[in-house]
Amino acid sequence: MSRLGLPPLFPRSPGRRRIRAGLLGTLLSGSLLAPHAASAPTFEKDVRPILKAHCFDCHGEGDQRKGGLDVRLRHLLLKGGDDGPVIVPGKPDQSELLRRVQSGDMPKRDKKLSAPEIATLRSWIASGARTSRPEPAEPPSGVTEEDRTFWSFQPIGNPQVPSVGSAGRVRTPVDAFLSRDLARRGLQFSPDADRITLLRRVTFDLTGLPPTPADEALYLADASDQSYEHLVDRLLESRHYGERWARHWLDVAGYADSDGYSDADPPRPFAYKYRDYVIRALNADKPFDRFLAEQIAGDEIARAHAGNAATVALSGSDARDLLTATGFLRMGVDGSATDALSDRDAVRNQVVADTLKIVSTSLLGLSVGCAQCHDHRYDPIPQSDYYRLRAVFEPAYNWKQWRTPQERLVSLYTDEDRRKSADIEREAAELAKERETKQTQYLAEALTKHLEKFDAPVRDAIRSALDTPAAQRTDEQKKLLADNPSVNIHPGVLYQYNPKAAEELKAMDARITAIRGRKPPEDFLTVLTEPTNAPPITHVLHRGDYRQPRDAVPPGGLSVLGNHGHPDEFPSKDADFETSGRRLALARWLTSPTNPLVARVLVNRVWMHYFGRGLVGTPSDFGAMGERPTHPELLDWLARHFQEDGWSLKRLHRLILTSTAYRQSSATSAKGVTLDPGNQLYWRKPVQRLDAEAIRDAMLSVSGSLNRRMYGPPVPVRPDVHGQIVVGEDKTEGDNKMPVDVPLQGEEFRRSIYIQVRRSRPLAMLHAFDAPVMEVNCERRQSSTVATQSLMLMNSAFVLDQSVRFAGRIESEAGPDPARQVVLAWQLAYSRPPRPEEAREALAFLADQSAGFPPISAARGGDSPKAKGATPESEALASLCQVLLSSNEFLYLD
């Protein structure tokens, strides 16, 4: 940062951390998941959350309180509504509140109360309808004391690493925490997985690719007892590491190469630079707090604003990187440039809302977006918090002075480029002028020729009518022209009269285009910047409606994380900057060691990618409706360690990957299944299906066709002749838009992260295996098992083609001997040789299959160009390859 002349953003002094002892303890008690304490219920702790979720909307927070009833405090319940009190302490059966919810009469619209909720209300009334402390006269705005005790809002603890016996199985602090809990249930880690299993597991997890034979040889040749650690270190240094983990980050960032919203779904041709920035940052192990700060406020760190961003971008690669990082905030759907929008302002406001959703779900792990229209139903996020956060982004996303996606692009044209471009434009303009002259001439000739079809008097009359300016034509002349529509010759129909002339003009157009094509290509960055004028005033919007502004709010953080529930406010304008500095302040707030959410959310997501499930099962919801951490101490230890270890993601990976927990076998045991069937305690490593990109990339890798080139513009996608989305340039011909194959020169075999993410065109192969379609962002992938996947593996052109290529590789590397072919096939697909019975089966299959194919000449029928040059043996080998690529051993990681 000092290199940019800025004071350090993130002074690290863990000593400043406030530690509230004891709070973590409550998390660890057995009642972790129990909604209610055993003691007598109180209004604040037990009743208010229920009423807040179900009733506040009509009986408290709304403009008008239905039935005159406000249920936000106990004494208001006692006061009651138009029909009198709604509770009678000690007498649940006489309490109207209970009667209404029990009968289902209330709530009117929403989901009804659950039986346990009703039971809680009953028990509270029966036990005297107590409160924890004297109530204020008016319902408090903002968050309550009870709200702030929720686990995820507590400071990140500093738990002691348990000292556990049998130290052999405890390799890292991660193991210490896990093994203590395992031991409590009479369980222990499974034995380490074998070396090949580990090799495949960690190679896929870190790079998204299978180990190559060379990787395998290197690993197996390492006889030291640190061979696995060496492997992890090698993989962390692999350039493919960044590609793999960038994909995870791009999911939460909602990365897409198109604007979305409209049916046209216009491409975002420069978004890929943000993708490349992420890959580079991860490969360089840029400290994650810095990485986040650049994405939230890179423009401000670079001292750029809307007026000078181009100059800053050209000033050096560091500054350009900082600007590129803000592409994070430009990932949302942005339909504001769509033609003929019925409500342009609504679309603009939606861009702001989506961006807030991306920022809050990815970093805060809270559904802050739920507070856009009203106070959050379940979490202590008042509506004003939402707008405080929104105020951070409004200087850049000012819906009243909006900039379209195009207007936000920053040109990377240099002065030299501009000069060259102007010269070329002059050349093009000359030719364009020539074309104009020709066109006028051809139109005149076409008319003269066409008029020859008319008798001389009519011809002269038409000519005279046409020569008369339209406004001065007589009625007779007008009728004459109307009755002879064919004499109205204009450029658009010239082709109907003189096709050759039209062709010639078209050729000239092509030449003009070609000349313009010689201009230095104008490159752009997709960035977020602020203008330097006074920041707009942000208002709370009633019901989230931009047409109903209410109170003005300053920028700031969440109340529940502030001091005693008072939100940290950010300066409206940072005097040291030309821009508002608000996003810089947010970046500081997010990455501050006292922020309890960000580090937890991040380490939880890393954990999820290794174990299939986070320590918190809902990675983007650390609130009341989310799941509670299964291992709160481990979560806190990891989060704190991550912060104190310089936010190094690679070191965090290494810590987890070298743990016994990660290295253990995935085999089940009767004891484990009995005592912990859900493997909540991690007594084994879960078996996981490869995700969509890893499946496609692994096929490319194994077949030998993977193009490992990194970075750059996305490889395009298009609909094929059926409408299925495949890799290819979107070129069609004819009225019926038949796809034209444009050779992609090996680009079609690049890693999936480089395939265009057009929101309206999810690549069939990836979508089938649960790659997200980006509407906003994707917090967690699903993993489905459905017949379509099977059909794709059986019959899709991609898999068939990859099988043929895989077979070709085997033939060229192993020669014609089927036995050697089978060994190599297994080795490449599974990183292991076949077992004897597998080899026998495979050889028998090859023999049967090659005998069973019909003669190629008979079945070719012109529709199987790939069969050209194929022999029954090579076809059988391709079949075997397809079977391996479709098999569970290929698709799943032990």
């Binding site: 049916d263 009225d735 019926n736 906003v776 489905s784 459905v786 379509t788 069969a867 079949s879």
Partner: protein, 491 residues
Amino acid sequence: MNGFSMPSPPGSVPFTRRRFLSRNAMGVGSVALAWLLREERLLGTPSNIPRGPQSFDLRQRDPVRPARARAMISLFMHGGPSHIDLFDPKPELSRRSGEDYSGEVTFSFVDRASKKLFGSPWKFRNCGESGTAVSELLPHFSRIVDDVTVIRSMHTDINGHEPSIWFMNTGRAQPGRPALGSWLTYGLGAESQSLPAYVVLTDPGGHPVDGVRNWSNGFMPPLFQGTVVRSAEPRILNLDPPPRLKGGPQERNLALLARLNREHLERHPGESDLEARIASYELAARMQTAAKEALDLTGESEATRRLYGLEDPVTREYGTRCLIARRLVERGVRFVQLFVNGQIWDNHESIQSNLATCCRKTDQPSAALVTDLKARGLLDTTIVHWGGEIGRLPVTENHGAAEKAGRDHNGQGFSCWVAGGGFRGGMTYGATDEFGHRAVVDPVSPNDYHATLLHLFGLDPNQLVYHQNGREQRITDGQPCRVVKEILRDA
């Protein structure tokens, strides 16, 4: 599954293959075979999270009102069938044929444009008990008129093919929105889950104008895209193996795969996801069987084959597709659309010979479909639609010699017909002016047409909403529409 088992709630049944099949027999997922997609994943969103991505599937859903129709076959005749030569007789036009037309006309091909009125060269006859007027070009159609409603007042007000096709097919004269079939399957799902819900039967002669966009799901998930059933192997993308693998070779592949997967499973006892994947191959095989059976016409009787014109080379191809359409609807497919190759109805030139050729290809099979559906008791619940996106002008498109005369585009007025599924039948509705140029009496826009169809399916065009990025999308996209109750059996 993410590879580990979720904690089972108390009393839940262990995840077994049988349970997988019972839950998933009718549901499968993704894009390639979009119709198979079901986004209710095995590891669904935890039920305590009341938000998140919308979940989509093709399971049958109840309409909001009692429905008259449960399936639809659209015989889409893009190019612009000449309504004034087929369904909409214009005596005044015939009387004044050759005179100059005084109305304002928008031409697409101005070089050949003329304002000479061009009376229909064909005779019309009142047919059936209803006395519906039919051109002599459509002898087979003339025998089903009592089951048919001819709408003579369709209009898109746009002359171009593509915008009018988009309008007729998606509700807006712009590209990229979901097709009618997408909306119906989104709203109602489908009765069969082992066949596509929305099938497109393309012409072996090539795709229609604008290609695959005609069955696009637009902003909806690919689940609601039309599935093309081709006339040659492989019939359905990804469902059928390529010819070289068909039969024995693929069976051997699957047998080896099953063995390897079973051995793998033995090394991973209790991994329910691995079991589920093995089962999913069996399900895939069932779908192959179901589709194969639906497309296999060998069981159809001689009489049926003759009815559809399968013996005649002129009608065989289109007749085959009409018969397949009936078989699909019989088996629970919701929406089937047939296209013709290129723009055969776009009779700019030599309409006298070209229009007759189009009619010979389609007349008998189209009529046979209605007759056959009726005989099988399916017409009551199946809508058949026949029509294009525009009509043709009452003036001559001039190509010199009289026999080369044609007609230019006309989006101001044209005809289509509908039958079954709650349409009254035996009537004509609406009218164009005395020359057949503009729809002037009871005009029906594409939005009215869609509203009426949705109404028959028990849906409300204003209430069938798809939420896209915070936008409420409807098939009418906010344009005015009305249910044309006058043509419904019980309005």
